[in-house]
Amino acid sequence: MDSPRFDRWWARGVALGVAALTLYILITEWDGVVRLGLWLWAGLSAAPQSFANLTNYYAVLPAAQLLPSLIIGAVVGLVLGVRAVRQRRVDPPWGVLIISTVLGAFSGQILTATLQHCTYALEAPAVEAIAGVVLTALSALIFVMPYLATLNRINPSQSGYFRRPALAYGFLAPTLLSLFVFLYYPSIQTILLSLNARRFPIRTERFVCLGNYTALAEDVVYQSSFVTTLAITLAIVGFSLSIALGIAVLASQKVRGASIYRTFLIWPFALSPVVTGVIFLALFRDGQAGLVNYFLTVGFGTELSWLRNPDLARWVVVLASVWNILGFNILFYIAGLQGVPPELLEAAAIDGANKPQRFFSITFPLLSPYTFFLLVTNVTYSFYGIYGVVDALTSGGPPVGAAGMFGGATNVLIYKLYEDAFTPGAPIGSAAAQAIVLFIGIAALTLLQFRFVESRVTYAD
C-alpha cells in the first residue's frame, strides 16, 4: 500500500520542484507564451469571418451537390439510430431517431464541406465519387456515435460526486484546450493540406480535390514503399509478439531471482530507435570488424553485405526493431500471465489436458486483450517509431530497381513522408495525403481494438 498522506517530505519536495520548474519555464519563455496567446486570440477573432464565408459557400452551392451528401449523412444517422433503439429498447423511439437522423445529416457535412463537395460534382471521376460517399458516411459518425453512446448510460446510482459541476470544466479545460489546439486543429489542417497541390506552371497551391490521393495510388515509388511497410510491419509484429509470448511464459515460471531475469529481458525497450539503429549498424557493418560478418567468416567462410542488399537490409531493420520492442511486449505478457487463474489450469490438468492443450485453450484466449493491445502498439511502432531505426541504419536505402526507380528497400512510409515533406520545393500536399493514409491504417486498427475490448470501455459512468 502506498503512503496514506501527502505530507511526506519527498511529496512536498516533488510539489516544490514542479512549482519551481513551471515558474522557471514561464519566466524564461514568456515571450513565446505571449505569442501563443496572441495567436489564439487572432484565431478567435477570425471566427465570425469564417462563419460568414461558410454561409456564403452554402448559399451558392448547387443543390445537386448538397442534397445527396445530406441524404447520405441522414441515412447513416437513421440506420445507426434504429439499431441503437432496437438494442436498448428505447420507448418511444421517435425522439432518438429524429435527433440521430438530423445529427447524421449535419455531421456528414463536416468532411464533405472540407472537400468542398467536389466528389459530388458531375465531372468527378467514379473513384472519387465513391470515395466521397464513404467519407460522408464516416463523417456522419463523428456526431452520431457520441450521441448514441449517451443512451448507454448506466444509471448513475454511484454516490461520492462533488457538487459544483463548474469546477469539472475548470479541471478539464487545460486538457481540452491543449487537445484542440495541438491535435484537433493540426489534424484538420493535414486534411486541408492534402487537398491542395502545386501543379506545374502555376506556383501557388490550389485545390485539387482528391487528386493527391489518386496520384499516390499511381506512384510506383509510393506503391513500393507501401508494400515494404506492410511486409516489414508483418514481420516485426509476428516475430515480436510470438517470441515475447514464449519468453514471457518462460520468465513467469516460479524460480529464484525471477525479477532479476525480468530486468535483463525488458530493458532494451528503454533504448531509443536511434540508439538501436546505430548499435545494429555496428553489428551488421561490412568487413570482418562487424560482429555478424566476423562470425559468418569464422563459421561459413563467407560474409554478406547486409546493408547494401535490399532483402537483407529489410531483415536487419526488422531484427533491430524486434529487439527494441521485445522487452515492452514481454512486460505486458508477464502481467497478463499473472492474471490467469491457476484453478482453471489445474481443473484442465485433472481433465487430462496436456501442457500445450492447456496453453492454447485457456491461457492464450485469456491473454487476448493483451495481445490486441500489443498488436496496436507494435503496428504503431512499425509505422512511426521505426523512423529512428531506418534513419540511423540505412537512411531508406539501398536502392531497388533499375537506377533506383522504386526508391529505397527500407524507404518505409513514415521515412518517405518526412523526406517528401521537408525537402526544398517539397510536395506538401502529397506528404499530407501520405500522412492521412498512414493515419487511416492505425485508426482502423485502434477502432477494432476498442470494439474488441468494448465490454471494458464504458463511455459513461
Partner: protein
C-alpha cells in the same frame, strides 16, 4: 522431488541463455565504446578484453559534441512533459470520475477520439504552426514540450484507476468538507503513486527518446536534444567512429535505463492492466 529440481535447472539455463542473447547487441556496443577509432575497425574484432579508451571517447563526446548541454536540454524537456502530462491527466481523471456535469459523455468522447491521432501525422501542420509562432526559432523549449502536454492515454489510465477506488473515500472526504483539490492531493495522489510512476516512466522514456520532432523543429544547436547528438556522432566526418558512436549510445541510454531499474516495481504494478478486482 527430483523431477521438479531438474525442470527448475532447465528453466534457469533457458532464462540465462535468453537473457544473454538479448544482451549481445548491448554488450558488443559496450565493448566497442572502449575502443579507439582504429581498433574498432580491426579484423578480427577485439571482443575481449575491453579497451582502455572509454574515458577518452566519453570525454570527447562532452568536449566536441556538447553532450553535457544536450543532456541538460533533454532533461528539462522530458521533465516538463512528464510533469505536465501527469498533472493534466490527474485533473481530467478527477473531473471524469468525481463530477457529474452536462456534456460529460461527449467530452469524454472528444478525449477518447484523440487516441486515434498519433502526433506523427500532424507534425507537418504543427511545424507550420510553430513557424507562425516563431517557437522553433525563438522558443525551442516550448516547441518541444507544449504541444505534447495533454495525453488521452494518461486521462484514460487515471480515469480507470480512480474508478477502481472505493466511492466511500470520496463520500467521507465530502463529509469532512474537503474540496476537490484537497481530495486530489491528500487522498487520490497518495493512492496513485504506482500509476503515476508507471505513466511518468513511459512518458520520460518516450520524450527522452524522441527524435523526429526535434530534428524537424530545432534549428539552434544550443537547444539540440540528446538523440540528435547520437545521430550526429554517427555522421561526423567521413568514416564512422564506432567507438565514439557506441559511447554516445551508451551515454544517451543511461538516464532512461537507470530510471527504469529504479521504478521497475511501480512500473510492473501500475501497468498490471485490467487485472480483475
Amino acid at each position: 522431488m527430483p523431477t521438479r529440481t531438474k525442470t527448475r535447472w532447465g528453466v534457469h539455463a533457458a532464462l540465462i541463455v535468453v537473457c544473454f542473447v538479448m544482451c549481445i547487441p548491448a554488450l558488443y556496443a559496450l565493448q566497442l565504446a572502449t575502443l579507439t577509432f582504429d581498433a574498432a575497425f580491426r579484423a578480427p574484432p577485439q571482443l575481449f578484453p575491453p579497451g582502455a579508451d572509454l574515458g577518452e571517447n566519453v570525454s570527447s563526446l562532452f568536449t566536441r559534441l556538447q553532450f553535457g548541454g544536450l543532456m541538460v536540454n533533454t532533461t528539462v524537456v522530458a521533465l516538463v512533459v512528464v510533469v505536465g502530462k501527469t498533472g493534466l491527466s490527474l485533473l481530467a481523471g478527477l473531473a471524469f470520475v468525481y463530477f457529474q456535469f452536462p456534456g460529460k459523455t461527449v467530452l469524454f468522447f472528444v478525449v477518447l477520439l484523440t487516441l486515434l491521432m498519433p502526433t506523427e501525422i500532424i507534425l507537418l501542420p504543427l511545424f507550420r504552426m510553430m513557424s507562425e509562432l516563431e517557437w522553433g526559432r525563438l522558443n525551442p523549449r516550448l516547441a518541444l514540450t507544449v504541444p505534447f502536454l495533454a495525453s488521452a492515454t494518461g486521462v484514460f489510465l487515471f480515469r480507470q484507476h480512480f474508478a477502481n477506488i472505493p466511492r466511500e473515500l470520496a463520500e467521507a472526504a465530502q463529509l469532512d468538507g474537503a474540496t476537490p483539490s484537497q481530495f486530489l492531493l491528500s487522498v487520490l495522489i497518495p493512492m496513485s503513486w504506482n500509476v503515476i510512476g508507471a505513466q511518468a516512466l513511459i512518458q520520460f522514456i518516450s520524450t527522452w527518446n524522441a527524435y523526429l520532432w526535434p530534428v524537424l523543429i530545432v534549428q539552434d544547436s544550443s537547444a539540440f536534444v540528446i538523440q540528435m547528438g547520437v545521430r550526429s556522432a554517427a555522421s561526423s566526418g567521413g568514416q564512422t567512429d564506432f567507438g565514439l558512436l557506441m559511447a554516445a549510445g551508451v551515454i544517451a541510454s543511461l538516464p532512461p535505463l537507470i530510471l527504469f531499474v529504479l521504478l521497475q516495481r511501480q512500473f510492473m504494478n501500475g501497468f498490471a492492466l485490467t487485472r480483475d478486482k
